[in-house]
């Protein structure tokens, strides 16, 4: 051994911390100021350099996008962990769920985290959609609006495909009920259904298809849309950057004011969802029994409004109502192009007034429609049922609110806001009605005992 080797190694060891710092940085840049800038550079690919005080205000966006992204991150991590143990065959699925729940270390917690984060994500993307509609933030962000609808589809698809995977009584029949609603879609409904199910009914083929969709196709689609969504935010001027901002408005650097706000929100969301999952177990139902569906069997809560509307009229509830809602949402940023009041909740003053009136009228109308339908539905023949039911009623009311709101406020924003509020009241109302349905789809008040089965 030569002494020169030792001395070289020793001096290299001495300078190791510094070498690690500079060597692992792209470009091997030793200057701290520049290095910091490099790190920030990543952030400035997401955010614009300077943001307004309005962007920083928590009530502007409510942080719903960040919450969604955080929950998605949680879902990816826990989902990969669950994939290690889950077996997507009809014979083993439920058993492997039991193993995850009871025998795997922290398995029950991981499952709960995945479950509650999933429900949370569906809820938060809906709120995100409402926020964007109510603040008119789709204006001059048409592509991002469409990408957002795509993200919504992926999220609902993920939530729905995940619903089947426990392969218990609840998941099997809920998916059977939900996919049966596709029969109401003319021409393509049956095709989509058999493509989805791999047959006419939910079977082991369905389980494998749903699993593939759940762990590969839909997450890939969602990631792609998510990247484009983030890119468009930056490209369209930055997060909640209002087009109507005065020229001399004071601006603040995104670092630290915006980025740290987001970081705090991420940490808090993680803490809350972990805390909930530590104490509230994810339910695992009764093992599947092909022969005895429960009464009632309900779709997952985010599809429950369709099931409720289908119970009035399959044509209107299963196709016309959801179809028009989706059609209206897709075309919204192209038909409503007013710049006035963009970024303010419920738009200019007269629009706000129209929204309040539409809200009051639609809640009242919903209650009246439901009461009338409950008392008179039995006497109606099928055609009359399609014409006179709460879903059709609310649809007509939405069109009326659209026309009246537009006419009275003199703006397309007022028209769309009024129509949207009516549709929203209908969807929320149908969901609440659906939640309160008991055996044989009979309505029971909250707290009222359901009659036992035979």
């Amino acid at each position: 051994m030569k002494p020169s080797f030792f001395s070289a190694l020793l001096s290299n060891l001495r300078s190791l911390p510094g070498a690690l710092r500079s060597g692992l940085r792209p470009g091997g840049d030793p200057a701290p100021a520049l290095g910091q800038r490099m790190r920030r550079n990543f952030i400035y690919h997401l955010h614009v350099l300077k943001v307004s005080a309005r962007t920083l205000h928590p009530l502007t966006t409510l942080g719903l996008g960040v919450i969604t992204a955080t929950l998605f991150f949680v879902l990816v991590v826990t989902g990969i962990l669950l994939m290690i143990y889950y077996l997507p065959t009809s014979r083993q699925a439920y058993e492997s769920m039991q193993d995850i729940q009871y025998a795997v270390a922290l398995g029950g917690f991981t499952r709960a985290l995945h479950r509650w984060a999933a429900h949370g994500m569906v809820l938060v993307i809906l709120l995100h959609l409402f926020r964007v509609v109510f603040t008119g933030s789709y204006r001059r962000r048409e592509l991002n609006w469409i990408l957002g609808i795509g993200l919504g589809f992926c999220t609902l698809g993920l939530a729905f495909t995940g619903y089947l995977l426990p392969w218990d009584q609840l998941s099997f029949w809920a998916v059977s009920v939900s996919t049966a609603m596709l029969d109401n879609v003319p021409l393509i409904g049956g095709c989509i259904k058999s493509l989805l199910l791999g047959g006419e009914i939910v079977s082991s083929a369905t389980l494998l298809r749903f699993y593939t969709l759940h762990v590969a196709l839909l997450p890939a689609g969602l990631l792609l849309f998510l990247a484009l969504h983030f890119w468009r935010i930056r490209k369209d001027g930055g997060l909640a950057a209002s087009a109507t901002l005065p020229e001399d408005a004071k601006m603040f650097p995104a670092w630290p004011h915006l980025v740290l706000r987001e970081a705090i929100l991420v940490l808090l969301v993680l803490a809350v969802v972990c805390l909930v999952s530590a104490f509230v177990k994810a339910p695992l139902g009764v093992p599947l029994d092909f022969h005895t569906p429960g009464n009632p069997e309900k779709a997952p809560w985010y599809f429950l409004w369709v099931q409720e509307a289908v119970s009035y009229s399959s044509v209107v509830g299963g196709f016309v109502f959801p179809g028009l809602l989706l059609f209206g949402l897709l075309l919204l940023p192209f038909l409503e192009r007013e710049d006035r009041g963009v970024g303010t909740w419920f738009g200019p003053r007269q629009c706000r007034r129209a929204v309040v009136v539409a809200l009051a009228a639609s809640v009242l109308a919903f209650l009246v429609f439901e009461a009338l339908f409950v008392t008179a539905a039995d006497g109606l023949d099928p055609l009359a049922r399609d014409l006179f039911n709460p879903a059709t009623g609310m649809l007509v009311l939405a069109v009326a609110a659209f026309v009246l709101g537009g006419w009275l406020t003199g703006s397309t924003r007022g028209a769309f806001l009024s129509g949207f509020v009516v549709m929203l009241v209908a969807v929320v109302g149908f969901t609440v009605m659906g939640l309160l349905r008991g055996p044989d789809w009979v309505f029971y008040l909250p707290g009222e005992a359901w009659p036992g089965g035979i």
Binding site: Y102, F109, F252, H257, I264, A271, P287
Partner: protein, 342 residues
């Protein structure tokens, strides 16, 4: 706008620190709860009992039982097969099984085949409940546990299943089989009488009321009341209930059970008795079946066929005597083949 950038940056850093601390606390809590599982604390208690040799590691105990379920019960019920832990003074999850387990241990029957519950679960509340229900499985209590014997055994003369056997006997002697036969998918010659093979799902109170006052549960019922029969003999009522409960239980598909149930499963098939050469009965009239033994005189083939037995080809239809008794067979044997006129 009262927005101080310097103060805001400071506040944000403090907020970041606090929320990171909060998250760390939550993680600690999760880890703590994850380590303190119920089964671990049971195993610690068992160790304190001095029942574990020093240096022996415990952990999740599991095996695949004879019907293919994974059984983890002995993770907590650590002393089940240990004779030295018998007796009331040993605290409960560790006490040895009170009744002799005989061949059940060797045959990997495990706990859930008889006791029900969710054998994969490691939390007592879930493990002791039927899967996904959260209700304690009713099979935990004596003497109704005897119903479980029928999952693998025919209600015969084995020790420990006397009450089930008596229940089966009552089913036949009280004439239940006339309206509630267990052949033909549970329906007899008449189109009434509930299918008893699912009735065991009901509560015991429901079943008891149905026997004593059938109109109590179903006002249109035409079933006669059996109140007199059970007035003085409430034990017999429980025996019959045990038998009814046994009918709903899934027959186990385990290896030993396939053997057991195939014995005499083909009862009232010609070949059961006429398996000898050219349709001769194969010799002696020897049975383990209590039903046949009790009716030995009526069922003795030599009464009608003193010399040789008829072969299957000579036989026109089914032996009328056997046909008469097929309902009796169905009280214990599943899957009797359909026979015209039975």
């Amino acid at each position: 706008m009262g927005f101080d950038a310097r103060k805001d940056a400071l506040r944000l850093r403090a907020g970041l620190l606090l929320s990171a601390l909060a998250l760390a606390l939550v993680f600690l809590l999760v880890a703590f709860r994850g380590c303190r599982t119920e089964w671990r604390s049971h195993q610690d208690a068992f160790r304190e009992l001095g029942a574990v040799p020093a240096g022996r590691e415990l952990g999740i105990a599991q095996f695949e039982n004879c019907v293919g379920e994974v059984d983890r019960c002995t993770t907590c019920h650590l002393g089940v097969t240990r004779a030295d832990l018998a007796g009331e003074e040993i605290p409960l999850p560790f006490r040895a099984h009170p009744a002799p387990l005989a061949h059940h241990v060797k045959n990997r029957v495990g706990c859930s085949v008889c006791h029900g519950g969710t054998p994969r679960a490691l939390e007592s509340r879930t493990a002791h409940a039927a899967p996904g229900t959260g209700r304690t499985d009713p099979l935990h209590r004596l003497p109704h546990i005897q119903a479980s014997c029928a999952r693998c055994h025919l209600p015969g003369d084995r020790p420990g299943m006397e009450r089930l056997k008596n229940g089966a006997r009552l089913y036949l002697s009280l004439g239940c089989a006339i309206c509630h036969p267990l052949t033909r998918g549970g329906r007899g010659g008449w189109d009434f009488g509930t299918d008893l093979r699912s009735i065991g799902r009901r509560s015991l109170a429901y079943l008891e009321a149905s026997l004593v006052d059938p109109a109590a549960n179903f006002p249109q019922s035409t079933m006669p009341s059996f109140a007199h029969t059970f007035e003085k003999n409430t034990e017999a009522l429980v025996d019959l209930l045990i038998y009814l409960e046994s009918l709903v239980l899934e027959r186990s598909g385990g290896e030993c059970n396939r053997r057991t149930r195939s014995q005499g499963l083909a009862m009232a098939n010609c070949t059961t008795c006429h398996s000898g050469e050219a349709g001769r009965a194969c010799g002696r009239f020897e049975h383990r079946c209590p039903y046949i033994l009790e009716r030995k005189d009526q069922l003795d083939c030599t009464r009608c066929h003193p010399g040789s037995m008829p072969g299957p080809d000579e036989h026109k239809g089914f032996c009328p005597v056997i046909r008469e008794h097929r309902r009796g067979c169905s009280a214990c044997h599943d899957g009797l083949p359909e026979v015209e006129g039975s």
